[in-house]
């Protein structure tokens, strides 16, 4: 179980001068949602948290150790990422793809063990992909690919999950299934942070929210304190209406 | 007055006819190696030679003074290298060539770009193509070039000297015991000549037997293995440059070769053999000498 903390972190969004320093603590069991309009830096934030790009100031720590001091392999054992975009240069099967999630856990000379294979199969089954194990990734639909990316992360078993729009391309059923999966992971002691465009999913599944403004301003806190219509309208520059449906808050954009 | 008119006309006509006859008698005609007849009414005064071999032949035929331009690598006789260049044999500077206003261009049948040659002909410049493939071809080339350049006597003399020299060699080695010979044109890739090639003919002339004489191509590329199997008694090599023996030293790797065991590895300066010019006689003499040396080592 890992905790991810930032201290005075300013992400490096090209063309943006300043930005509020972020002091976040992503603890085991928490589900964080990152909200913001296009170009606010949500993806940049996730990549910075994963150590894939340098920050402008401050630092990211995993379990109290600065990310920059850890080897990449160690980082990948603590921390996994679902990317927003998937591109495939070479042909690969679904099973092979899920199996690369095991990479951080294997030494260079090791072959994947039966246990790794079982984990990959399990992950695929969990995302309704068990039947597709032999299929070429290039032949999958957008939603299937998205689920495959999540299955790969599931096989990776990191303590911290960073997911960039995990519900992208997914039908309603699978949106809920994936959010439930992330929720279960958090319940099992992992920390989850995801970028979302859907306020309703954020309201329903996240316990903490981080609002990122295009200007670099940021505010964060527990979901019920952050879901203030006025703040959200300012965030998106869009008028919103909200209502209560079956016990959860629902937001609708109104023209 | 009127009565005398027919007489005047007759005289004029006779005069003109005489002139025409005179011109026809002066016209020099020769057939080139592409089977085209070239006729010049006056001997060529400004000749451009488009191969190093043509340059050499022109000088040997006594027409050296009329040569106004040559191509790259025309290094023999030495005064030829002083002459202006019109590019290389396969990439001619037509502009410069035409600007020199030649009245005869000596081309190379397979060496010069055909398109550029035709262009020259369309511009009205006579092109005489040569590419001797036989000893007699070299001799007649000397005569034909001399004829076009108005140096018939010198040309005939040079040709006769060449024919005579070769005839002497032929007579001397007609009954000499045969010597299996490998002639190395190039080392990388390894290339030789067949019997159709002039060098192959020189080998035969000297009583040698070209071990790759029967191959189909004029300059075949072969592998070392084939040479080992053929096991020639003599290895003759040209080289990069006129005095480079490195190719021969290379064969020392195979002591089981007869030519290596008997030290019959000989260098012959490539320009003496590889150009179809009278110097081939000198090259032939040297080649024959080497084979004679090899016979002595039996």
């Amino acid at each position: 179980m890992s905790r991810l903390e930032t201290h005075g972190l300013v992400i490096d969004v090209p063309g943006r001068s300043g930005g509020d320093p972020l002091d976040l603590a992503l603890l085991p069991g928490q589900v964080w949602g990152v909200l913001g309009p296009n170009g606010a830096g949500k993806t940049t934030l996730l990549h910075t948290l994963a150590g894939l790009r340098p920050s402008r100031a401050g630092r990211v720590e995993v379990d109290g150790v600065p990310l920059t001091r850890l080897r990449r392999r160690r980082v990948a054992q603590c921390l996994g990422l679902v990317f927003q975009e998937h591109h495939d240069g070479f042909p690969a099967t679904v099973e092979e793809t899920a199996l690369i999630g095991r990479h951080p856990w294997l030494s260079p000379w090791q072959m994947e063990t039966a246990e790794d294979l079982a984990l990959a199969h399990c992950a695929l089954a969990r995302l309704d992909l068990a039947e597709l194990g032999g299929r070429q990734v290039a032949t999958l639909s957008g939603g299937e690919r998205q689920r495959l990316a999540i299955a790969t992360l599931l096989a990776q078993e990191p303590g911290v999950w960073l997911a960039d729009e995990p519900t992208n391309h997914l039908d309603l059923h699978h949106q809920v299934a994936v959010m439930r999966l992330l929720d279960e992971q958090a319940a099992g002691g992992r920390a989850v942070m995801m970028c979302l465009h859907d306020l309703n999913l954020a309201a329903r599944w996240c316990d903490h929210l981080l609002l990122l403004y295009p200007s670099g301003e940021a505010c964060w806190g527990p979901t019920d304190r952050m879901l203030v219509p006025a703040a959200l309208e300012r965030l998106y520059g869009q008028r919103l209406a909200s209502a209560e449906v079956e016990g959860s808050r629902v937001f609708v954009a109104v023209p | 007055m009127t009565q005398r008119l027919p007489g005047v006309v007759g005289l004029l006509l006779m005069l003109m006819a005489g002139l025409v006859e005179q011109a026809a008698a002066d016209e020099a005609c020769a057939i080139d190696d592409a089977e085209q007849e070239i006729c010049l009414t006056v001997p060529a005064e400004r000749i451009v030679a488009l191969s190093p071999g043509a340059t050499e032949l022109l000088f040997a035929a006594g027409a050296g003074e009329q040569v106004v331009a040559v191509v790259d690598h025309s290094d023999y006789p030495p005064e030829a290298s002083e002459l202006p260049l019109v590019g290389s044999h396969d990439r001619l500077d037509l502009e410069r060539l035409v600007a020199l206003q030649p009245d005869l261009v000596i081309g190379w049948v397979t060496g010069n770009p055909a398109g550029q040659m035709e262009r020259l002909e369309r511009l009205g410049i006579p092109v005489f193509r040569i590419e001797p493939r036989t000893f007699e071809g070299i001799a007649t080339a000397l005569e034909r070039l001399a004829l076009l350049a108005g140096r018939e006597a010198q040309g005939r003399l040079a040709a006769e000297r060449f024919r005579q020299g070769l005839a002497e060699l032929a007579a001397r080695y007609a009954d000499a015991p045969p010597v299996p010979v490998f002639y190395q044109v190039w080392d990388s890739p390894l290339m030789t000549v067949n019997d159709e090639h002039l060098i192959g003919k020189v080998v035969t002339l000297c009583g040698g037997v070209n071990v790759f004489g029967g191959l189909a191509r004029l300059v075949p590329r072969i592998d070392e293995e084939a040479l080992l199997v053929a096991d020639p008694e003599v290895i003759l090599a040209g080289g990069r440059g006129e005095a480079n023996r490195r190719w021969l030293e290379d064969w020392q790797r195979f002591p089981e070769l007869t030519a290596v065991a008997r030290d019959n590895l000989f260098f012959i300066p490539p320009s003496l053999l590889q150009r179809p010019t009278p110097r081939l006689l000198e090259g032939s003499r040297r080649l024959c000498d080497r084979l004679e040396v090899a016979r002595g080592r039996r």
């Binding site: 240069g89 099973e95 092979e96 990479h103 | 990388s188 072969i222 592998d223 199997v229 490195r246």
Partner: protein
């Protein structure tokens, strides 16, 4: 026959057993090709004599033919083919571009310029090889330096730099060819087409091939991940920058040695990795050693044909690799649909 059992690997990851079986079959094919290469030539040596020589017997002529001519040449062909195929596979992963080959970054151009200049100066074959090697390394460093210039290099930037520099080399090669005397041209053209006739002493190339194969086996899984893209690989714990440098330098060194041994032989580096991917899937732990064996086998066979088809005359080996490889590749591509 082998295809059916190998196809299994294409789905899912290969087990150690499948890996050993596939590589064992390929190694057997390589050995068979080497035996054919040693047994065939423009001189007829009975097979029994060939085998006798290999175990230390035979007459002098057979010994010379086989031990001094055919065997070194066959081994050089094997090493060159293997190096080119592995270098091609590595370049394809490095550039995330299936169309990459060992020469795509202009390395063969640099080597060719070095070799042709040495030939123009009339230097011997050892110096031509040395000059080609220097040219190849110069090309590598040039492209690397230029692509790296501003501090960040992406595969596409590297590729673009390499392709532009390669066409620059091409122009220089044409310039040298057009300035060279006619008698030099056959040697130069044969060098450019690739030629094993003067490949002596396959030791360095073979050694490097074995070394690289040992080195890439532990890197294989990281390369699998890298093939999915740099960010994804970094997220999965691959030290991307370091690995890419290593791959680039290894592939360049291999190509430089191959080019130095036999001139620039095309086709092997591009098609052998693809051919194997079509049959074996894309696990680098399998593909890279398989490339070494299959690339080597292809070039040994091609060179044997080049030596013997119109013996004692010789054909350029690059022509044969293409004539052999194109139909096989097209067949597999057609079948895979």
């Amino acid at each position: 026959m082998a295809g059916a059992s190998l196809r299994v690997c294409a789905h899912g990851h290969p087990t150690l057993g499948q890996l050993a079986l596939t590589l064992g079959l390929l190694a057997a094919a390589a050995l068979a090709a080497l035996i054919v290469a040693v047994a065939l030539g423009s001189a007829a040596v009975p097979l029994t004599d060939s085998l006798a020589v290999l175990v230390g017997g035979g007459d002098d002529m057979s010994r010379t033919l086989i031990l001094e001519l055919r065997l070194p040449r066959a081994l050089a062909a094997f090493a060159t083919g293997g190096l080119l195929a592995v270098a091609g596979a590595l370049m394809q992963v490095l550039l995330r571009n299936p169309l990459a080959d060992p020469y795509v970054l202009g390395l063969s151009g640099g080597a060719a310029v070095g070799a042709l200049l040495a030939m123009l100066a009339g230097l011997g074959s050892a110096l031509v090889s040395g000059s080609a090697f220097v040219g190849a390394l110069t090309a590598t460093l040039l492209v690397f330096g230029l692509a790296h210039g501003t501090g960040s290099w992406t595969p596409s930037r590297l590729l673009l730099t390499g392709v532009v520099v390669a066409s620059g080399w091409g122009a220089v090669i044409t310039l040298i060819l057009s300035l060279s005397p006619a008698r030099q041209l056959p040697g130069m053209l044969y060098w450019l087409m690739g030629d094993l006739a003067h490949a002596r002493g396959p030791g360095v190339a073979l050694g490097l091939l074995v070394l690289v194969c040992l080195l890439v086996v532990p890197l294989g899984r990281s390369l699998n991940v890298l093939a999915r893209g740099g960010l994804q690989a970094a997220a999965l714990g691959v030290p991307v920058r370091r690995l890419e440098w290593l791959v680039y330098l290894l592939a360049s060194l291999m190509t430089a040695v191959a080019v130095t041994t036999a001139g620039s032989i095309g086709f092997v580096g591009l098609v052998v990795p693809h051919l194997l991917r079509l049959v074996l899937g894309n696990d680098q732990r399998l593909i890279l050693p398989a490339c070494a064996l299959a690339g080597g086998t292809l070039l040994v066979l091609a060179d044997t044909l080049a030596r013997t088809v119109i013996a004692p005359e010789q054909l350029p080996v690059g022509v044969i690799t293409a004539l052999l490889g194109v139909p096989v590749f097209l067949f597999l591509l057609h079948r895979s649909r």
